[in-house]
């Protein structure tokens, strides 16, 4: 039985360093190649030695697919391709290809230049790695080789995020990457065909959450920001440069416009300007509303949001600052946080998920004293708010995607074990399909039962279809008979006659003859005629012929009558039929 194997090297019952190996139909595919933000040591990257102990990965992988530009999905890419060694194809969408190297370079700078790590990938490695990237268009089937094909679908989540459908023969797997089933202010909702994959590998960040309406969350967010500003506080919103940042900027921009607010909004790092440019140039990847109106008003040209300078942090008065990175684990957001943490008028709003080990995660769990580098402790007095703005599907969204794609099996990654367990139960209950949640390094094997594609001769097919009337009727299946010819790699189904012809064989006729005696006083001809009439009445639906040469023919059966030499009342019936005859006339005529 064919099997599909799935092994997470990262993101197995965990969030971070997404990296999943899939073996399908003899092909090995790596899905994502991320880093873990919670670690600064070896555990930062997936353990590629699982694939091979020594040497390069090229021989072991047919392709690598990156779902989107977040570092927990692509952060290990240059390490994997340039330091471990991989020269095969790397697939990602155009926006991911554009943005990914910038975030990698940013990540490299923080790690090497600020933290002083050595033995890390270099700028040149990022460039070399990106040269191996082949861009993917949405919904376009890409033939990786003769057997393996991949197709990308829109995933929402961030600009350029994609789900991929991986297909070998009639077996297939869908990997969702991170996705969002509800459209937001700048992105559309994820969508996929009813492609019925053997396995759907889904993220499960919010496996147990069913979020309240987005509008409520937005209102809460604006209310909190507004209140804080009103009492003269400073609001820090740690974000990643691309993604939620644009969403929240659009939200604040429209709010400021409507309320005619004057407090400054700043966006940190030089990435901003650039980031917004990407959104303008890849506007086809945003939601319909933005795409429709971009000629008149480009939503990514902000009037109220200005670039941040480090010195502004000490300015008096209220302000809102978007700063990177989003989990307060390093960089500018952490610096500002340290500055503002002591004042209870200030506020930090965490708009997304925080990985374990990061400061973001700690303060969200209510920790009010933080140990900083060099034994210093930091008292957290400012308000800490959490608002789930990260564009992940919640439990409802995950179920919705399952209904869309109709997978035969489900496999959860990119989530916490406890939460996964809960969702797994729900999925198994609601859809009666198996749901797996392998840990890192653990292999899930799913046996598939693929149909065998065969080429059927059109003559044969048409002949069989014609039997069921002019139009095919799904409710009325017809029995068909034919010969399957297996030659090299081709499978052809033809009629037996055609099979003989194609193989250059002669038909061998096998016939049988036997004699049956019966008593009948009539003449030979009359006896034959009586037999004919009797058969006619008994065997409806068969062709029965009475030929002038003194034979009766039923299908392939030939019947002749002669009188016995001794007794003219004893008639001898000569019956002759072929091997292929279906009608068992001997038994019936008794």
């Amino acid at each position: 039985m064919p099997e599909i194997k799935v092994t997470p090297l990262g993101a197995g019952q965990d969030v971070g360093r997404s990296c999943i190996l899939v073996s399908i139909g003899g092909k090995n595919i790596m899905l994502d190649c991320g880093m873990h933000m919670g670690y600064n040591d070896d555990r930062r990257f997936p353990d590629f030695s699982y694939i091979t102990q020594n040497g390069r990965l090229t021989d072991f992988l047919d392709c690598l697919i990156i779902s989107h530009f977040h570092l927990d999905h692509c952060g290990a890419l240059p390490y994997m391709s340039e330091m471990v060694g991989y020269d095969g194809p790397i697939y990602m969408t155009h926006p991911t290809k554009a943005i990914c190297p910038i975030l990698l370079e940013d990540f490299r700078k923080i790690t090497v230049d600020k933290k002083g790590e050595t033995n890390f990938f270099t700028s040149q490695m990022i460039k070399d790695c990106m040269k191996k990237v082949i861009p993917l268009n949405l919904h376009q089937t890409v033939q990786v080789d003769d057997e393996l094909e991949i197709k990308a679908y829109y995933a929402g989540h961030v600009l350029g995020a994609a789900m991929v459908h991986i297909k070998v023969g009639s077996e297939s797997v869908v990997y969702t990457g991170d996705y969002n089933m509800t459209p937001d202010r700048h992105l559309g909702a994820a969508w996929i065909d009813k492609c019925r994959p053997d396995i759907l590998i889904s993220e499960s960040t919010y496996a147990t959450t069913i979020r309240d309406s987005k509008r409520c969350r937005e209102r809460d967010f604006l209310k909190k920001v507004h209140e804080s500003i009103e009492r003269g506080g400073k609001v820090l919103i740690p974000v990643f440069a691309l993604g939620r940042a644009q969403e929240l900027c659009i939200l604040l921009e429209t709010f400021w416009e409507r309320m005619n607010l004057k407090a400054p909004i700043y966006f940190s790092t030089g990435l901003t300007e650039k980031a917004n440019h990407y959104y303008k140039l890849f506007i086809t990847w945003t939601n319909q509303k933005i795409r429709k109106t971009f000629v008149q008003r480009n939503m990514f040209e902000f009037k109220h949001i200005k670039a941040f300078d480090r010195s502004y942090a000490d300015n008096p008065g209220p302000m809102v600052v978007f700063a990177t990175p989003g989990m307060l684990h390093a960089g500018q957001s952490l610096q500002i946080f340290k500055k503002w943490a002591g004042n209870e008028k200030n506020m930090v709003i965490m708009p997304g998920y925080c990985v374990q080990g990061t400061i973001g995660h700690k303060i969200l769990n209510g920790q009010r004293k933080l140990e900083m580098e060099g034994r210093a402790t930091l008292d957290v007095k400012l308000q800490v708010e959490y608002m789930s703005f990260s564009a992940h599907a919640d439990a409802k969204g995950i179920m919705q995607l399952i209904r869309m794609a109709e997978p035969r099996n489900m496999l959860l990654v990119h989530g916490e074990a406890v939460k996964m367990e809960f969702l797994k139960g729900k999925i198994e209950q609601e859809f009666s399909i198996d749901c797996y949640m392998p840990a890192n390094g653990e292999t899930t094997t799913v046996t598939t039962n693929p149909s065998v594609p065969v080429d059927i001769s059109l003559n044969l097919l048409k002949r069989e279809m014609a039997l069921g009337g002019p139009l095919p009727d799904p409710k009325k299946p017809r029995t068909m008979h034919g010969t399957l010819i297996m030659k090299e790699n081709s499978l052809k189904l033809v009629s037996s006659e055609q099979a003989l012809k194609e193989l250059g064989l002669n038909e061998h006729q096998l016939r049988f003859t036997c004699h049956v005696q019966l008593q009948d006083p009539h003449s030979d001809a009359d006896t034959l005629h009586r037999i004919y009439t009797h058969l006619k009445s008994v065997l409806k639906g068969y062709t029965i012929q009475h030929l002038p040469d003194g034979t009766v023919i039923v299908e392939s059966i030939v019947i002749k009558v002669s009188s016995s030499a001794e007794d003219s009342n004893t008639k001898v019936l000569l019956l002759s039929w072929s091997y292929q005859e279906v009608l068992n006339i001997l038994k019936r005529s008794k």
Binding site: T479, L493, A499, F512
Partner: protein
């Protein structure tokens, strides 16, 4: 498989392909050359045009002076221009399942097909084709509507276009139609988002090649290799200017432009609002500094000028490699963004409004329509036509420039004809066809003979072996296609139950008896279920007269029964008394003890036996020697 040809214009095709129970329209071009027979529609009152004499036949018997006017020695229709639509009577257009569009120039007749024929299908086009095509239609409607003519033509109802872009217009991707055929767009390199189409099933492949280009301009390069192994290749949209080299024309365009400006004249470039204009602007961007034209204003006037320029920047996926790389930086892929930013290029929706106050001369104006019959260009013809300092440079190849200029004669303005047509020329297409080797080529009849004006140029036609099948407007071609196989899926349970036997080295056969399911044009075979036990019927007994459930038929047999080996087998089964008699075709075996005859021949065996058990035994023995199919 049939092809219905609804348009006779080779570069504005409209064909309908019937293929495996699907009806697919390939492109929907609107032939606009007919507008050259009409008088221009001026934007502001033109005394010259309004005072033209009516036309009366020489003997005065036919008087159509209200409708026909004489102008510059030619007769023109004084009415709203009419276009030449695709043929609508050749087949029932409501039966069309899908329309595939290859580029934005080839979709202008869509409203006529989708709105008034009962069409209920879907139109597929790539995203840029869809967006820019929509803009060009809006522009055309705008040109017509802002200068209403009292006399309106019968076939051109411009309101139609407004409601236009049919609802079910879809972004093109690989699509499966009714489970029967797969259609996929391939980049064709001609314009932003332009595509050729592959229409294929598991066993047949039709390639539809429309406007394609191998030149490196802004669009994504043409995908040639995917056209390989086509059974039929439908070839349309070759260059209309086979003798003009686009690069040379571009050079001439620049030098004429510079010359005129330096002499203090204005340059008028009648053009479409999307397409070559992007390349012209890019060329000028590089050229203006070196030609010292840095201060000359460039104007682009069209109701869709702004949209066209903006849209061109957002389709990175559909651009050539260099432009894609710029987007990754991120920078706008086209340099006209910079021209606009530095105020060198300005765009206006029309000559009215801001333009009239900001307009400075000498200048360069890009505006439509290239037929010179409507659009803002008409105004500039009236304005600049009288001065020999000015130059009009024709770059679009769709209209004869002499015909376009006819109603403006006499003209003092200089005329330069630099048609830029990047579509495939005959040399390129021969090379392409040699490489992709389609079994059959179908093309407009114009491509099978040299152009009328250059009848000696046998290089300006398609010469292929076998010769291409030519079509003209209203042709119905039977495409030489013999479908022999179809894809069917054997369900795993059935597949496991099959017993293959090797017939020849490397060739095995298995007989299959199965249930055939056909749904959505997909066929599957599954095992025949065992008949359920008859429920005990309480009703009165009835002779079941239906034919019995067909048992799996016995396979056909092949091979021959070897005499010696067969005798040995008989012996093993206790049949020893066998008298062998030789006949003309084989042998007759007389099994004396059993009173049974077996006739063995090359292509047949006949067992004459009255005892059923023995007959069965003998049958099984004979079958051992034969192959079952």
């Amino acid at each position: 498989m049939k092809l219905y040809c609804l348009s006779g214009h080779p570069t504005l095709p409209c064909n309908v392909l019937k293929f495996k129970s699907t009806t697919i329209m390939l492109d929907c071009g609107l032939d606009t050359t007919s507008v050259l027979n009409f008088l221009p529609l001026p934007l502001v009152h033109s005394p010259r045009l309004s005072k033209l004499p009516g036309w009366v036949s020489k003997d005065g018997t036919i008087n159509l002076e209200k409708e026909l006017k004489e102008c510059a020695g030619r007769v023109f229709v004084d009415a709203q221009p009419e276009f030449c639509l695709p043929e609508r009577e050749l087949l029932d257009l409501s039966t069309i399942d899908v329309i595939l569009i290859s580029n934005y120039h080839c979709m202008m007749a869509l409203p006529y097909i989708t709105e008034h024929t009962g069409f209920t299908g879907t139109v597929y086009a790539t995203e840029p084709t869809l967006q820019i095509g929509r803009l060009l239609m809006e522009e055309l409607v705008n040109f017509m509507e802002r200068v209403p003519k009292a006399q309106s033509a019968t076939s051109w109802k411009n309101k139609e276009i407004q409601r236009m872009l049919p609802g079910p217009l879809k972004d093109a991707v690989d699509k499966e139609l009714f489970g029967a055929v797969q259609v996929s767009p391939l980049s064709s390199g001609y314009s932003l988002g332009s595509s050729n189409w592959i229409i294929q099933s598991h066993h047949e492949k039709v390639s539809y090649v429309s406007g394609s280009s191998l030149l490196t301009t802004h669009p994504q390069p043409m995908d040639q290799s995917s056209l390989k192994n086509s059974d039929v290749l439908i070839l349309t949209g070759l260059t209309q200017m086979p003798t003009a080299n686009p690069d040379g024309m571009l050079g001439e365009f620049c030098s004429n432009l510079a010359m005129t400006i330096r002499a203090g004249g204005n340059v008028l470039v009648p053009c479409y609002s999307s397409g070559v204009i992007y390349d012209l602007l890019e060329c000028l961007y590089q050229f203006i500094e070196s030609a010292n034209l840095g201060t000359t204003p460039f104007y682009f006037i069209s109701p869709i000028a702004n949209s066209s320029l903006e849209f061109s920047q957002i389709f990175a996926e559909w651009l050539c490699h260099n432009k894609q790389t710029k987007v990754y930086l991120p920078e706008p892929p086209f340099p006209h963004a910079e021209l606009i930013q530095t105020n060198k290029l300005k765009h206006y929706p029309s000559i009215h409004g801001d333009f009239s106050s900001e307009f400075r001369q000498p200048c360069v104006v890009f505006t439509g329509h290239p037929s010179l019959r409507f659009g803002d260009v008409v105004h500039f013809m009236e304005l600049w036509g009288k001065s020999s300092l000015n130059t009009i440079i024709f770059t679009e190849p769709d209209f004869s420039y002499l015909d376009a200029l006819a109603p403006y004669q006499p003209l003092a303005m200089k005329c330069v004809y630099c048609p830029i047509d990047t579509r495939l020329n005959f040399h390129q297409v021969s090379k392409l066809l040699k490489e992709v080797q389609p079994l059959h080529v179908v093309c407009p009849e114009q491509y099978t003979q040299p152009p009328l004006t250059q009848s000696h140029r046998s290089d300006l036609m398609l010469e292929l072996q076998p010769p291409p099948m030519p079509y003209r407007r209203c042709s119905v071609l039977n495409l030489p296609f013999r479908r022999r196989y179809e894809r069917i899926y054997i369900l795993p349970e059935l597949a496991n139950s099959l017993v293959p036997s090797e017939i020849k080295p490397g060739v095995s056969v298995a007989t299959v008896s199965a249930l055939l399911h056909s749904k959505d044009n997909k066929h599957t075979l599954q095992s025949v279920p065992k008949p359920p036990p008859m429920p005990p019927s309480k009703k009165r007994k009835r002779v079941i007269e239906e034919p019995p459930v067909a048992l799996a038929p016995k396979p056909m047999l092949s091979g021959a029964v070897a005499l010696e080996a067969f005798l040995a087998t008989l012996q093993k089964h206790g049949i020893t008394e066998v008298k062998v008699e030789e006949t003309a075709d084989g042998h007759i075996l007389h099994l004396q003890a059993e009173d049974t005859l077996i006739q063995l021949e090359e292509d047949g065996t006949h067992i004459v036996c009255d005892s059923e058990p023995l007959r069965t035994t003998l049958r099984d023995l004979v079958l051992r020697f034969l192959q079952k199919l």
